[in-house]
Symmetry: C4
Subunit: 279 residues, 4 copies
């Protein structure tokens, strides 16, 4: 039976679009685990004191994951031919230039270069392997987090104007704050407040409440302005996050109401498996 | 036809009140873009290391935008005669003294002075050009952010007493905190806590959670009081922002319900364009 | 007519209970203004550089407000006899020992001592005049902030168990964090982490996100534990404020619904002045 | 009557499962107080300057609480035989290996070791007595905080996917931020940004807005990246707490509606004591 050909089975395992509403395939679950382990290994390997303890181990781990991702990439390009729009050689070329496949390629490339050179340290391009982290988002599609992600997306879409408006207000607040402190402190602390872009570093640290303490006003006028800026601006800069959280809550309640309504209306009757698949 | 006279067309392009419910005119969109670019140029030009790279460029950019805003101001005063209340010479004088036109004039003035002097550095008055940033708010009226701004305004209006009450509580907390730390630390750290206004700088940095770390209690009593102040006060000072975010969410839900109700009642029947114009 | 006797009129002006639902009396409005100005003067007078500029002015201002508050106190004790429970000499003694009157007396006492000594600096007891700030809360009763205060109070009452529970959780988090960092850093930084109470200073600064930066972990284990504590604890310590803000929003919505319902039912019919008087 | 045997009465006092819906027994209330006092004593005793003042007092207090908790443990194991599943010697062994009893044993062990050695300082294992703090959670079951705890739990359960999703996003943000700053600053500040795990310390301090100020970017690129990370990431890392607070509010409203509905339906009729027992 052609439907159960090897290529078809590989495709069903790798492509999240091959089985809508059936959750995440075993292969993709393993790939997500491999990506997370590989990312952890890349992160730890940048620390010399950790790498020094087991240089061979990190090299082996990298080689192992490198081969997995290279093979995955080749299998993906091969099996995507099952989808009509990517069939044939030309379809494969089309697929290779989709954004997802380009990210894949960029994240695989360092492994290939690595295998030719066999050094783990030095080159910054190795960090490109971390790009693979974003692949988790697409691989996990259809799983339980999809509903959460959809709610997040709906919240952003529904309140886009409030979000942009409050972000613009926060940005204006930042420019105004930086300008005020630039005027107040530029002669006393030219390094920290000698220009509006420099004062912006203070404004960001203050308005996000991070407050490293590397720069702060020292004159009376600067302290009074800085205090007023902190009191009035901190809430303003926190506003987009607050609006988003409230929107997410409202969207969640609405989705829940719709789902309960759907279930009450015909859920018990047809007994079908819900494609949403969760909560 | 007199309605389509040049002055009328200029007026329709410049005055947001000329075409309620029709969004932002092309001229105003271009002016918003010009203001944002000009503000970016003013901000960057204050940094000597950036200005040094291309002093001519910044001067050209400033000259360019300066002429645009001067011409805009003149056209605005000329074309406002289309509105009955500002018709005639006396009407123009009346218009020039409206708050919006005064801000316009103050923001244009530095360009005029600049053209007489042709230096970009030194004078603080150049920063006045940033005032133009606030013009964006009025120019964008009728656009998609108007609903967001209206919701923000309704939220503040509806919860004004809670907002003022919580702000007053936060202010009282600040005075009490500063007084306590002043009493605890004034002998040990006279520079930082030698008076209540000085201790206020610590109180603001602590209660907004900025925490620069330039001043902090060092005595045991001061640390205990400071810790209690931080634990009890941080939430209090964050309260106005929390109340506002909750109010904004409630107002948004209500507006949305009204809109859905309106649409259900007669939206489909008359098919009229909604003046609100957006979600 | 005995009802309009001088004592009765004074009482009606001073006692917020004399005229429920009629807002704040003129005398109390003036007293609130006097308290706020007096508090401002006390705060500014602690700063030597400000006091040095106009020592006579601050002394005059203090004398002026001192007499106002002393006369207010005497008039209050005298006129309270209009209320049956405080009538007669014995009733006055009873009144003097009510909490509000004790706060009044403590806040007035520094003025009396001041008048005997005529020095503005030195003694800490002068700060007691700031206690008067709390009087604003009782004087403003019946005014527009009363509804806001009532909503705040209802919110706390309705969610008291969630608030106490989350506060206890935050407190437990603080003890656990301090203990972990004490174990990790006590040998390296005995001054900052040599005991759990000392580590608590770090824990409070970290979990409230103030982060002065005077103390922080320096060992690898300490940094890992500190990072985990910050990530997991920051939200926990912010929880009581979040719960309170949500409760306040819900209470506000409910009050509003009740008010709208009341108005719809019999508001238009009787046309009576609402005792709530606002919103 | 065997039901009122001593063992049964001890069991009813100690086991929260012996009397569902009747609140907290007197013995457990006393034990909670003893635990809190004991925890306070353990915390204070780690501070040498406090312990030095009254070494005998701390030793007495520890001995006192030590005996209470040892006796409590023995009585608990003895009386648990009242429950069928833990009856007999084998039942007792089974009980001793339940998680709650193991925590009890670990928290009691330091006291036993202490009594053999009679020293309060030095050994880290003494901190294990703090584990008893977690016992408060189980002892307080059935009391007024149980509803609050249940609402907290329901909120987490209902929004588990949003919570995990936003936590994962925050975690990804942290890795990306640390990687960016590692690339920007690793050559200038190898100690602070020389590897991704090191840069993670900066990322955590920044994104939680703690901002100790021990590490911060110093290059222009690093400051621009750091500023962008702070602006975009601070809200993301605060998201899980915001989602949780909103969920808790929604769950509270729903529980309240259910309770009001229950009371309206048959509450007045049967007049029974509600097992929930609060609010």
């Amino acid at each position: 039976m052609p439907v159960d050909s090897l290529r078809h089975r590989v495709w069903r395992q790798l492509d999240v679009r091959a089985h809508p509403g059936e959750g995440i395939s075993v292969a993709n679950k393993l790939l997500i685990a491999a990506i997370l382990l590989s990312v952890g290994s890349v992160v730890l390997a940048t620390e010399p004191s950790i790498r020094a303890r087991a240089p061979g181990l990190f090299l082996s781990v990298e080689t192992f994951f490198g081969w997995i991702f290279i093979v995955e990439y080749i299998l993906r390009v091969w099996s995507i031919g099952e989808r009509r729009e990517y069939a044939g050689l030309w379809g494969r070329v089309k697929y290779i230039f989709t954004p997802v496949a380009i990210v894949d390629l960029i994240a695989v490339a360092p492994f290939v270069i690595l295998f030719l050179d066999l050094r783990l340290d030095g080159a910054d391009f190795l960090v490109l392997r971390l790009l693979r982290l974003f692949r988790v988002l697409t691989l996990a599609r259809g799983g339980p987090f999809t509903t959460a992600a959809r709610e997040v997306w709906h919240s952003i879409a529904e309140r886009r104007f409030e979000l942009i408006f409050s972000t613009l207000m926060a940005f204006a607040m930042m420019i105004v704050s930086a300008t005020l402190l630039y005027l107040a402190e530029k002669d006393v602390q030219p390094d920290a407040f000698g220009s509006i872009p420099r004062a912006m570093w203070w404004a960001i640290a203050t308005l996000t409440t991070v407050g490293y303490g590397d720069v702060f006003p020292v004159t009376s006028v600067g302290k009074i302005l800085g205090g007023l800026v902190a009191l009035s601006g901190v809430g303003l800069v926190a506003m987009p996050a607050g609006i988003f959280a409230a929107a997410l809550s409202a969207v969640h309640q609405e989705h829940r109401r719709h789902r309960l309504h759907d279930e009450a209306t015909h859920g018990a009757a047809d007994g079908e498996r819900h494609p949403r698949g969760m909560d």
